[in-house]
Subunit: 155 residues, 2 copies
Amino acid sequence: MGHVEVIVKAGKNHRQDSLDRALAGSGFRMTRQRQTVYDSLMSRRDHPSADEVFSRVKKTMPTISLATVYNCLDKLVECGLVRQVNRDRDSTRYCANLREHGHFYCRECGSVHDIDLPSSRPSELGLAVPDGFTVDHLDVNLRGVCPECGAGHQV
Amino acid sequence: MGHVEVIVKAGKNHRQDSLDRALAGSGFRMTRQRQTVYDSLMSRRDHPSADEVFSRVKKTMPTISLATVYNCLDKLVECGLVRQVNRDRDSTRYCANLREHGHFYCRECGSVHDIDLPSSRPSELGLAVPDGFTVDHLDVNLRGVCPECGAGHQV
DNA sequence: CTAAGTGCAAACACTTTGCAAAACG
DNA sequence: CGTTTTGCAAAGTGTTTGCACTTAG
């Protein structure tokens, strides 16, 4: 029990350190709201929308507003701690996994899963990018059915 | 001149045939609006938003409404003649290129370019999709700077 | 004829903004 | 203390919907 405590605390301190550093690095201030939003994202590594983050954060900080959640999320994106994940016209989702990765969207349940990329360089994926194009960012999305939803259908 | 005429006419007839067939195949009716919207998409192979399609189509059909353009585009997507292209929260764009391909978005000018994919199967792109996932669709997006915009910067 | 499609305006969901009050450094 | 950030409500954007009128088959 004491052991678990230590790990959790260490995890949280480390988390807070990166937040502190990242905010400072981009010239932003540390606020209770930003910390709470970031904690919420880091503690559950799913892909919540701003509204879902709002709901979660309201439990520990009932006075926070949705606009502030958007604001905090934007700042976290700006300082590079969080990635935005867009799936068609759905609400933007937020992802605290900074590893280069793509996303799998389940057509049935709407869940989002991270998919590792072998490389972030288009040429290594066999993509034929014509001369003259400079590629900054590669975004790979898969659609289909996740194991939970597929199980029912395929016997 | 006569030659060009013939080609253009043939192109248009072929185009109309596919539209006829695709609509019929999905149980939709042919309308002047759908034909005009489809022609507009096919004649300029760029990636216009619904609003841009609306502007273009209004020139030849001034009474058409934006809602109808959305409606027509949706039907064209449903019968498989057109693909939707979403870039973050931007307006949905529409693409009449049915070859399997990805898209390159220029950060500077916002232009969209088609990028050929070597395969539509994730495994052939080296993507590690965990067991149990069924993949229907693969969507690859690149961000960066296109040749026109890049030229100025890199001397 | 009659079901499907159009055109309009109003509704919608998600996101951003303007501004006074509060809080960080 | 001076800025930055918050919280609220209001505006904005892209898209969809409800409904009377029109049209394709």
